[in-house]
Symmetry: C2
C-alpha cells in the first residue's frame, strides 16, 4: 500500500522490476478476458491491486476496486483547452539529479512510469501523451495530490474567516481531544508540523500507515481484524510523539484530521465542498471522485481520482492567479500565501534530499526557486507542477514502482524545469 | 435486496411504511454529520443500504457503497435539452388501476416515492421535478432498467450479424455448457423464455436471488460464506427447471448470462460497449457507471447508475427512431424489432396482472397499446416510458418501498398514458 509521498527510500527501489514497456498493463493483459484468467486478475480482496506491476492497472481503475463518492463537474460546458502542440519538446534535455549523463524529455516519461502527462503553456496544450492504462476520458488515482485540494479548501476557509488557523483541532472536533491532534492547531495540521506517533514507512509491516489503510478500507482486513472500522475511528487512536510545531514531518493523517474539521464546519462532505468550490467552476470534462471508507467518509489524504486534462485545468487555474472561466475560483490571497511558502528550516527536518530549500505550506510543496514553482505530489509520481514565471502547468499521472518521490524526483524535477526554460525561449 | 422487477407481491406491500414525505432522506438525515450518528448511518457491511427507508438514500448513492466501472460520456459537448415547461401538467388526472377514484399527476409523484422525473415532449423538457435524495447532477441506481441497455446492445449485434440469436449460449461461452444456460439460445435469453431454477421472490430468504446478490458483492456475506465468489461463478451453478422456449419467466440472470456472451464476442467490458455504442453518442451531461463484482464483472442485470436527464436523453433517442445529435445511434431495424414485441401468449405466463396484453422483447417491455408505448422498468419504480405516438419520453427514478412493479404500476402506468393524452391535445 502506498498512499502518500514518502521520504523513505524503500527496498522496492533496489528490487529488479520490469521497465515501463515491460510492465505496460495493456501488454501484460491485466483484467482482460471474461473473466480474466486467474493470473491476470487484480482484486481488492487479496491486496493484489497494490502490488507492482498490478498497480500500473489499478491506479487507472481504482473506482472498480473501492467505493467512491462523485465530485460533480456541475452543469457548465467543458472549457476548451486550446491545443498548440510543439515538436521541439520531446528533445528537451536535462540532467537528472545525481547523474552526470543528460537525458531527454521523451525518454524521461517511460523512465518515470508515466501513465499520462499534459503540459500547458499560457493555457494551451503544448504536449500531451498517454503511455499506460490511462486514457483521456479515464480517471487516475491522485493519491497525495488530494492533500493539496484539501489544503486549498482549508486555506480558503481561513481566508474567509470561517476557520481559525490558531484554534486547536479539538475546538472543532471534540472527538479528537484525547488524541495527538487535540492540542495541535489547524495551522500545524495545514503545514504538517505536528508531533504524531505514525510512521509512513512502507518497508515496515508494523508501520501505522498500514493500520490506517485497513481502517479506511483501502486494504483488505484479516479475518480476525479487531482494529478501527473507519478513518475517524483510526484518527482517535493516534498518539503524540514529541511536541507540535517543531518541524515538518509529512504524515497523511494530518490531512484526514483536517478533512474532519472542514466537514464539521461546513456540514458538507469533502466531495460536495470540492465540487461546489472548485470542480464545478473549472469547466471540467469529467466528474472527479474520491474513495470512501465503510461509513462514507472520504480519504482526504489520498483518495481523489480525476482525468488528466481536468487535473491540468485545476493546476492552470492556480497558475492563472486562481481564475478560471472568467471567474475567481480561489482567492488571490490564498495563492500568495501558498507561494510565499512556510518555514524552510522546519522543512529540512523532513529529510527530503531531492528538495533542498523547499517548504510545505497549506499542503502544497513550494520550491522557492527563481520561477516560484510549486507542486502537488503523489506517491507513485502523480504531480501538478506550476511554474508561474514560465506560465507553465504540468499535470502528470504515473504508476512508478517506487512508493516515494525521492526515487522519482531525480528524473522529473529537472525535466519539468528544463521544459519551463524551453517554453520561455 | 431488490435487484429486478418482480411480479411477486411481497409482505412489504402490506407492512405500514412512512409516506414519501415522512421517508424523505433529507428529512430523516441519513448519512448527515461527520460521522453520521449511529442511527443515521447506512453501510454496506450490515446490509442496511437495502432496507426501507434507507434505500431512499442508497439508490442515489450506490457508488459510495459498492465499486463501479465508469461508462464514459466521451468528449462530445452535452446536447442541450430545450426547456418548455408547462403549468397544466401537475393537474393531469387519471384513474389508478383498480381504483374508482381519480388522482392527479402531482399527487402521483410522492405516492410512487418518485426521486426524480423528467417528461420530454418532442425533445423538450415540459416537466422536471426532484423529490428525494436525487439531484440533477447525481446518479441513481437504475436496477433492471439496466437490462434494456444490455438487450439493446445484444439486439444491435444480432442485427450486425456479429451475434447469432439462434446459437446456443454454450457456443459463445463454453463455461456455461453444464449449466441451465448451455442449451438455451441467445434469443431465449433476450426474451427471457428460459427454464431456470431461480426464484426472484424477495419474501423467501432461501430464494436464489439472494445467493446471486451475495456472489456478486451486492450484499454482505456471512463469515462462513462458501458460495460462488463472482457473478460468473454463480451463473455456472444455475440448474434447469422445465424446458426453454415455453413461456416468459422474468429472471435477472438471463441478462447476466447475455452480458457474458457479449463480452466474449466483443472482447470488451459492458461499460466500454455501452460507452462506445451509446453513452458517448447522446451528448450526455454525466458519465454513467455500473456496479461490479470482486472480479470487475459488471452487474448487467441491474447495476447501471445514471443521472435522470441523461436517462431521458437515452430514452428520447429511441423515441426519435434511434437518432441523436444528428447521428443514427441504434439501427432503426432494432427499434422496429422491439416495438413489434414478442409472443404475447408467452408473456401471459409471467403473471403480470398490471400488464395485460404486453410482451417482452430484447429486454424491453412492450405495451402493444394504441400509442405503441414501450418501457424499461426497474424494481423500485425506475422507468423509461416511451410513447411514440405522443412523441413523449418519460424518465423516472424512484425508491418505492415495494420491491416489484405490480404494486407501483397502478399509479404510474395510467399517469404516463394520461400525460401522453394531455400532450397530444
Amino acid at each position: 500500500m502506498a498512499n502518500l509521498a514518502s521520504n523513505t527510500p524503500t527496498d522496492q527501489a533496489l528490487a529488479p522490476v520490469g521497465s515501463a514497456a515491460e510492465t505496460d498493463p495493456r501488454v501484460l493483459g491485466w483484467m482482460q478476458g471474461a473473466p480474466p484468467p486467474a493470473d491476470k486478475l487484480i482484486r481488492f480482496g487479496d491486496g493484489s491491486h497494490l502490488l507492482f506491476p498490478q498497480l500500473r492497472w489499478s491506479l487507472s481503475h481504482f473506482g472498480e476496486l473501492v467505493p467512491s463518492k462523485t465530485i460533480s463537474r456541475g452543469a457548465m460546458p467543458a472549457a476548451p483547452l486550446p491545443r498548440q502542440e510543439r515538436d521541439d519538446l520531446d528533445g528537451v534535455r536535462f540532467c537528472p539529479i545525481g547523474s552526470a549523463q543528460s537525458m531527454n524529455w521523451a525518454d524521461s516519461l517511460p523512465a518515470n512510469y508515466t501513465d499520462g502527462i499534459v503540459v500547458l503553456h499560457r493555457g494551451r496544450i503544448v504536449f500531451e501523451r498517454y503511455l499506460g492504462a490511462l486514457q483521456p476520458q479515464r480517471s487516475h488515482l491522485a493519491f497525495s495530490v488530494t492533500k493539496s485540494f484539501v489544503g486549498l479548501l482549508a486555506a480558503s476557509m481561513v481566508h474567509e474567516r470561517s476557520l481559525d488557523e490558531n484554534a486547536p483541532v479539538s475546538h472543532y472536533v471534540p472527538e479528537l481531544k484525547a488524541s495527538a491532534f487535540g492540542d495541535a492547531t489547524v495551522r500545524q495540521l495545514l503545514d504538517m508540523i505536528t508531533g504524531l506517533q505514525y510512521r509512513e514507512d512502507y518497508t515496515d509491516p508494523n508501520a501505522e500507515v498500514w493500520a490506517h489503510s485497513r481502517a479506511g478500507g483501502l486494504l483488505p482486513r484479516p479475518a480476525d481484524y479487531a482494529g478501527p472500522q473507519s478513518f475517524y475511528a483510526f484518527l482517535q487512536t493516534v498518539q503524540k510523539l514529541g511536541a507540535h510545531g517543531q518541524g515538518f514531518m509529512y504524515k497523511t493523517i494530518n490531512t484526514d484530521a483536517l478533512g474532519w474539521v472542514l466537514r464539521r464546519i461546513s456540514g458538507q462532505s469533502l466531495a460536495d465542498m470540492l465540487s461546489e468550490r472548485i470542480w464545478s467552476r473549472l469547466g471540467c470534462e469529467q466528474d472527479a471522485s474520491i474513495l470512501v471508507d465503510s461509513e462514507g467518509t472520504e480519504f482526504g489524504g489520498g483518495g481523489l481520482c480525476t482525468s488528466l486534462r481536468d487535473l491540468a485545468r485545476f493546476g492552470d487555474m492556480l497558475r492563472n492567479g486562481g481564475e478560471a472561466c472568467g471567474r475567481q475560483v480561489v482567492p488571490t490571497a490564498v495563492l500568495e500565501d501558498i507561494r510565499r511558502g512556510a518555514n524552510r528550516e522546519h522543512f529540512k527536518m523532513g529529510g527530503y534530499v531531492t528538495l533542498p530549500g523547499w517548504s510545505y505550506r497549506n499542503m502544497w510543496w513550494v520550491s522557492h526557486n527563481a520561477h516560484g514553482a510549486f507542486m502537488a505530489r503523489g506517491i507513485h509520481g502523480q504531480a501538478i507542477y506550476i511554474d508561474p514565471k514560465a506560465e507553465m502547468t504540468i499535470a502528470r499521472y504515473a504508476s512508478h514502482h517506487i512508493a516515494g518521490n525521492m526515487g522519482i524526483d531525480p528524473q522529473s524535477l529537472p525535466a519539468y524545469h528544463a521544459m519551463a526554460l524551453q517554453l520561455m525561449r
